[in-house]
Amino acid sequence: MKNNKKKLSDSNLLLTITVVIFFVMYIGAILFLKGGFLRPQAFLNMLNSNACLIILSCGMSLVMITGGIDISLGGQMALISMCCAVYLDEMGGNVFVSILIALAIGMAFGAFIGYLVAYLDIQPFIVSLAGMFFARGMTTIVRTAPFNVANEAFTALKRTRIIIPGLGSVNRKGIYVDAYIEIGVIVALLVVVLMFILLKWTKLGRSFYAVGGNKQSALMLGINVKRTKFLAHLLCGLLAGIGGYVLFLNHGNGSVSNGAGMEMDAIASSIIGGTLLTGGVGNIIGTFFGVLSLGTIQNIVSSAGFDEAWWIGITTAAMLCLFLVIQSIVLSRKKSS
């Protein structure tokens, strides 16, 4: 054996890059932008507003690791929140059932897209594009105008805050305010942990990587490629259902514009987190940090006074490019060494 040093696998290498860049960025923000970023609540707010994106990105990463993609996620967000809103507000339904509705819609999408992709061998991009149009269209059929949900049990759940002791701070008026997270964050963190375990310690998780690495080889190695792809999409659908409800809980309304462009943010987060579009490489922890990096850069841009949406778009684009360039340099260096 020539090289006794333990080499990092591609997935772990990209994860390390992402984590390092995130911390450099966040510490930079603390140092140069002062105030805001030092407060723990600033970080927690980022989690609060991105809980849904974290969940969606996990689903997106699963699918991308198998070599696929699902761009219907944003559309599903709108449909799920609209359906739940109508159910709770007008039919006076209960919260538990509304959660089931969200999961059912997500899984139905996942199963349908998964079936077409896995068993009929249609390009995932095209299938999920159709799914996106369908979801957006259906949302408009259910209700065109946005409206807030007034259901009591739901608003109680929406207002529930989990206080984190010791991290509070004193506001401008001199009153001590507790630091808090919303329920969605707990769900999101749970999803991250579960998906991490799935990908690392289950045979199903490993076959996601195998299928994404080389479909033909995976088949020859005795993996049921079609079923594996189907399950990846089904899981992604389940996560879309969960994420959809978390988004609904955060926004508290039904609106056609809910989740607009979110599928792209999920793809961007996965890529920043080290998931390769070509499949076979990726890591859920990386995806988590991918979302945080995206959130941080957006916070930096807006607190630096560039509040317009296009500034955020431009910086996100720049960051994506930066990550892609770093990834390709590191991977090609590794290959040649």
Binding site: K7, D10, S11, S207, G213, L219, L221, N224, G280
Partner: protein, 506 residues
């Protein structure tokens, strides 16, 4: 079913649209036997293997395995794996993004959880016992191709297989690695595993195998004990020529008088490319037709690709009329008057959506430079001239080339190169897949061009064709030039014995 056999395949048929890939093929594999499966390109070896491993489903026929009362049903690679049939393919069928250990164990075993510790320990044990220099936790893509191949074999070995299929496993291995592999194969043989060995290296067959089954054109030629089948017979069976009726069919041999005194037009010394051929010397004289012959994979095409600069040249010199020239890219070769008609016209030759006219003018245009386009009238003039000369059957010069038949596509590409008026024309399998009439036309054309002073290198899998057109043959075996035949040596028998090598005069 025979008592000793572990696998019997009876009356296997398999068709693809337009091709009958397997017709009534039988195959028997015994316990503790290394059985070579031989045949030229398109003989049906791969199809037979893929039927056995469940990649293709057979149209008709029966497969029996030892210890099973009923016929074996194999519909997928998983089925084959469960029945104890393991396969190591020529191209690595592992996942480069996973670790070595994962590649050995994924897709097997029960339970939903992945026990990394146990898996890595097991993998390391096997790797050590097989003396494979890889670590279980290494990512597969960081291993060399040879080691990846060994990992694939380690996986197969660990599966306790009854039938092990090695489909050209040695093509990416060096000699020492091949020796190691053979050692492994003999160990497994002693344990009673039946091994099917597919290779095109004759030496390797005679080194390890017990039996040989030969296929040709999708049909079974026969099964032979290795000691009863000398090399030259094996080659004859693979090529489909009986040794006895090898009358010299070269009738008009006196057309090419030997031009011994003239100096070669092109000359190569110690030429070597990155495609894995051994360095070779080569020359061709004005108005001469010569050929490269050898079995599939012997390096025929690689030689001419090196001369044309289509593969990266890593050593040797090329001289034109005694002066050294540098040919590192196809464009250099074209500028020096060399034209090359590639083996696979679909991949290397035609531009399917362009018209016949555009395809004909393409190479000349490249040579002239893209900023000096020919006028339309000029292009039609060129195109019409060659459509007439080569009798290309096309509706007009504007027809897209992809709507032409294979033979006519080939003629268009030929026209493309003739338009450049090359001094030296290389034709790699110009007659493959085209009808017999067009074949003869092309052969005649080659002779006509030569009589007009063009030097031509002609490569074909059909020895008849080579004998009819070439005045000198370079013979290749295992990526090495092993002989040169000319004059009265140009007979089927002589060619085959040179290809077979070893006990040539048997």
């Amino acid at each position: 079913m025979n008592e000793k056999s572990v696998l019997e395949m009876r009356g296997i048929f398999k068709s693809f649209p337009g091709v009958r890939a397997l017709q009534n093929v039988d195959f028997t594999l015994c316990e503790g036997e290394i059985h070579a499966l031989m045949g030229e390109n398109g003989a049906g070896k791969s199809t037979l293997i893929k039927v056995l491993t469940g990649v293709y489903e057979k149209d008709e026929g029966h497969i029996f395995l030892k210890g099973m009362d009923k016929e074996a049903v194999i519909r997928s690679p998983q089925d084959a794996q469960k029945l104890g049939i393991s396969t190591v393919y020529q191209e690595i069928t592992l996942c480069p993004n996973l670790t070595v250990a994962e590649n050995m164990y994924i897709g097997r075993g029960k339970g939903a959880l992945q026990n990394w510790k146990k898996m890595n320990a097991d993998a390391d044990k096997i790797l050590q016992s097989l003396d494979i220099p890889a670590k279980s936790t290494q990512q597969l893509s960081s291993c060399s191709i040879a080691i990846q191949q060994m990992v694939a074999i380690a996986r197969a070995v660990d599966m306790d297989c009854k039938v092990l299929i090695l489909d050209e496993p040695t093509s990416s291995l060096d000699e020492q690695e091949v020796e190691k592999l053979f050692g492994l194969m003999r160990d497994l043989k002693a344990k009673g595993v039946g091994i099917i060995f597919v290779t095109h290296f004759l030496d390797q067959v005679y080194e390890v195998c017990d039996k040989i089954t030969v296929l040709r054109d999708g049909k079974l030629v026969g099964e032979y004990e290795i000691e009863n089948l000398p090399r030259v017979q094996l080659v004859a069976k693979m090529l489909g020529k009986e040794l006895d009726d090898m009358a010299d069919i070269r009738s008009d041999s006196d057309v090419y008088a030997e031009k011994d005194d003239s100096a070669p037009v092109f000359e190569a010394q110690g030429l070597q490319s990155n495609a894995g051929i051994k360095p070779f010397d080569f020359y061709i004289k004005k108005g001469e037709v010569n050929g490269f012959t050898g079995l599939l994979g012997s390096g025929r095409s690689e030689c001419v690709r090196a001369i044309f600069g289509a593969d990266k040249v890593i050593g040797g010199t090329v001289k034109k009329n005694g002066k050294q020239v540098k040919i590192s890219k196809p464009i250099d070769a074209m500028k020096n008057g060399i034209a090359y008609l590639p083996e696979d016209r679909k991949v290397d030759g035609i531009v399917g959506d362009l018209s016949v006219r555009d395809n004909i003018v393409l190479a000349l245009q490249v040579l002239q430079g893209f900023f000096k386009p020919f006028s339309k009238a000029k292009m039609y003039e060129f195109a019409d001239e060659y459509i007439k000369l080569l009798e290309i059957k096309t509706a007009s010069a504007d027809t897209p080339i992809k709507s032409l038949s294979g033979g006519n596509q080939q003629k268009v590409i030929l026209a493309r190169w003739l338009l450049m008026h090359p001094e030296y024309l290389i034709l790699d399998e110009p007659t493959r897949g085209i009808d017999i009439g067009t074949k003869i036309e092309i052969q005649k054309l080659v002779l006509k061009l030569a009589s007009e002073g063009m030097s031509v290198t002609f490569i074909s899998s059909e020895t008849d064709e080579m004998l009819r057109t070439c005045s000198r043959l370079v013979v290749m075996r295992d990526r090495k030039v092993v002989g040169e035949l000319s004059g009265s040596d140009l007979t089927q028998n002589k060619i085959m014995s040179t290809i077979a090598g070893g006990e040539a005069n048997e």
